[in-house]
C-alpha cells in the first residue's frame, strides 16, 4: 500500500539522488516507486525533475559547475530509463520533438548539451546531431523526423552566420517548423532579424519558450484539422 508518507519519502530520495548525482540511488528509488504503485509521472516530475530544478539553481549560483551538472543529468537519466516505459502520457500539455545541434565549424557543445538535457527531461523526443554539424544536415533531419522544433547553437560570431542559412533553408522547405537559436554571441535582436521564432539565454528559458511555441503550433494544427477557429 502506498501511504502518503512512503510517497513523500520516495520523492525525496529521487530528488536527492539527482542533486547528489547518485545514479544507483536514482535507479533503486525509481524501481521502488514502481513497485509500490506510484504513478511514473509523479515520480518523474515531483522527484527527478524537481531535483534537476534545484541543480539548475545550484548551477546558477556557481555552487555547481558543468561536471556536477552532467553527473546530475546522468542520475536523472538513470531514473528516467526505468520510469519512462510506465508513463501513461507525459503531461506537459505538449509532446514535441526537436532537432538540435551546434552549427558547422563550431565545436563548442557544452551549452548545447545542457539545453538538450532540458528537452530530454521534459519528455521531448530529441534528435541530437552533435557539434560541427553541416548546415544541410539540420534541414534534412527535420524533414526526416518531421520535428516540431529545430534548435541551433553557435558560440562564435563567425559560425553564428551559418544559422541564418539554416533558417532560410528551413523556411523554404517547411514554413511551419519552429526555430530557436542560442549561444553566447546570439541575442534576441539577431534572432528577430534572422527570422528565428525564439531565442533564449539559457537552458531553462529555452525549454519554457519551446513549450509555448509547440503548444501554439499544436493548437494551430488541431484547429486546422477540426476546421474551426474558436476554442
Amino acid at each position: 500500500m502506498l501511504t502518503e508518507e512512503k510517497k513523500k519519502e520516495l520523492l525525496e530520495r529521487l530528488k536527492n539522488a539527482v542533486i547528489q548525482y547518485d545514479e544507483d540511488t536514482a535507479k533503486e528509488a525509481a524501481q521502488e516507486a514502481l513497485d509500490v504503485g506510484m504513478e511514473a509521472n509523479d515520480a518523474i516530475f515531483n522527484g527527478l525533475v524537481s531535483g534537476m530544478q534545484e541543480v539548475g539553481r545550484l548551477f546558477e549560483s556557481q555552487e555547481y559547475f558543468v561536471p556536477e551538472l552532467l553527473m546530475c543529468a546522468d542520475a536523472l537519466y538513470a531514473g528516467l530509463d526505468i520510469l519512462k516505459p510506465h508513463v501513461k502520457q507525459l503531461d506537459l500539455g505538449v509532446k514535441g520533438s526537436v532537432v538540435i545541434g551546434t552549427v558547422e565549424g563550431d565545436v563548442h557543445d557544452i551549452g548545447k548539451n545542457i539545453v538538450k538535457m532540458m528537452f530530454d527531461v521534459a519528455g521531448f523526443k530529441v534528435y541530437d546531431l552533435g557539434r560541427d554539424v553541416p548546415l544541410d544536415k539540420f534541414v534534412e533531419e527535420q524533414m526526416k523526423t518531421d520535428s516540431d522544433l529545430v534548435c541551433l547553437s553557435a558560440m562564435m560570431t563567425t559560425t553564428m552566420t551559418g544559422m541564418k542559412k539554416v533558417i532560410d533553408d528551413l523556411r523554404k522547405k517547411n514554413p511551419k517548423v519552429k526555430i530557436m537559436i542560442g549561444g553566447a554571441p546570439v541575442s534576441q535582436d539577431i534572432a528577430e532579424k534572422w527570422g528565428a521564432d525564439g531565442y533564449a539565454k539559457d537552458a531553462t528559458n529555452a525549454l519554457k519558450d519551446a513549450i509555448n511555441m509547440i503548444s501554439s503550433l499544436k493548437k494551430l494544427k488541431e484547429e486546422a484539422e477540426a476546421g474551426k477557429i474558436d476554442r
Binding site: Q62, F65, V66, P67, E68, L70, M71, D74, E104, G105, V107, D109, I110, N113, D132, M156, T157, T158, T159, T161, P185
Partner: protein, 342 residues
Amino acid sequence: MSDITSRERVLKLFSGGEVDRTPCFSGMGNVSTEGLKALGYKFASVHLDAKKMADSAATSYKLFGYECGVLPFDLCVEAEALGCRINVYAHSEDLLYPTIKEKVIHNENEMDIAIPDNFINKGRIPLVCEAIGLMKKDIGNEVAVGSYVLGPFTLAGQIMELNDLLKLSFKKPDKVGKLLDLLSEAIIMAAGEYEKAGVDYITIREMGATSDVLSPRVFKSLIFPYLKKIVGKLKVPAVIHTCGKTNDIVTSMLETGARAISVDQKNDVQESRKKLGKDALLFGNFDPYNVLVTGAPEAVKEAMKKCIDDGVSAVWPGCDIWPTVPAENFKAMMEAVKNYRR
C-alpha cells in the same frame, strides 16, 4: 626613450624592468582578415604552410604596430601530433577555425595512452617551428615573437570527449591526473621545440578549465600541479591564460611559477591586481570581439585606457584577436595605448 623597440619593451617587461609605457601585445592568435587580404591568403590555407603562417602572423605588427608576432592560430597542434585527425575546412571561404575531427580516446577504457615515438616530429610541430624561425627572421629584431601550447586539461578535452573528461574529473580524479601528467610531458616537449626555434615567450592556454565550466576547487586540486610542472620546465617566460571569472584562481595561477597571468574580459581585473600584488605581471583584458571588432574607434580607445587604469602590466586581449577587426579599430587601439599614461 622613444627609440626603444617593441621587442626591447616586451622583454624588459618580462625581465622585471621599468618600461617607458604599457606594451600592447598578446600570446594568443593574432591574425586578422586585413592582414590576410594584404597577403592574398585564404584563412584555410595558412594552417598548413609555414611561410603563409609566418607571413600572416607578422601582419598585425606590420600593418598596425601590434607589439608581437604569435603563431599558430588554432588549438589542434598538440592533439594532432598525439594522433587526432583535424579538419582545416580547406574548401571554406569563411573564417572557420581548425577543429579535431577524430579523437584518440573514445571512452574511459582508452585513457591509458602513450606519447607516440618521435612526437616532436609528428603533425605540425615541425611546421610550427619552421614558421617561428621564418617569423623571427622577418620581424624578430623589432618585436617579441611568441607561441602557445594548450594546458593539459584543455588538451585532454581535445583528445577525448569533454563531457567524459569533466565527469571523470570528479569520479576518477586519479585516472584523469595520470592522463594530465602524460599530456604535460607532451606539452613540455612541444614547448621545448618552440624554444629551440627561437620564441621569446610561451603562453599556456588552459581555457577549457575556465570557471564558466569547472570549479576553482577542481582547478586547484587537479590541474594546478601539472601546470606547475610545465611552467617549471620552460626556459622562456611563461604566461598562463584561463578564460572567465578567474579571480578565485589567479593566485594559484601565479603560484605555478608563471612569469605572467592572462585574464579575459569577464574578470574584474582591478580585483585581480589587488590579489596578485603590484609587482606581478598581469595581462588583459579587453574583449577582442565586443570591443575590438564591433566597437567604434572611440569606444576601443576608452576600453584600452580602462585596462591601463585597472592596473594591467600589458594591454592584451581576452582571447585570440578576432580576425574581422576593422583596421581603424586596430589603429585606435595602438594609438590609445601609446599615448595614454596612467
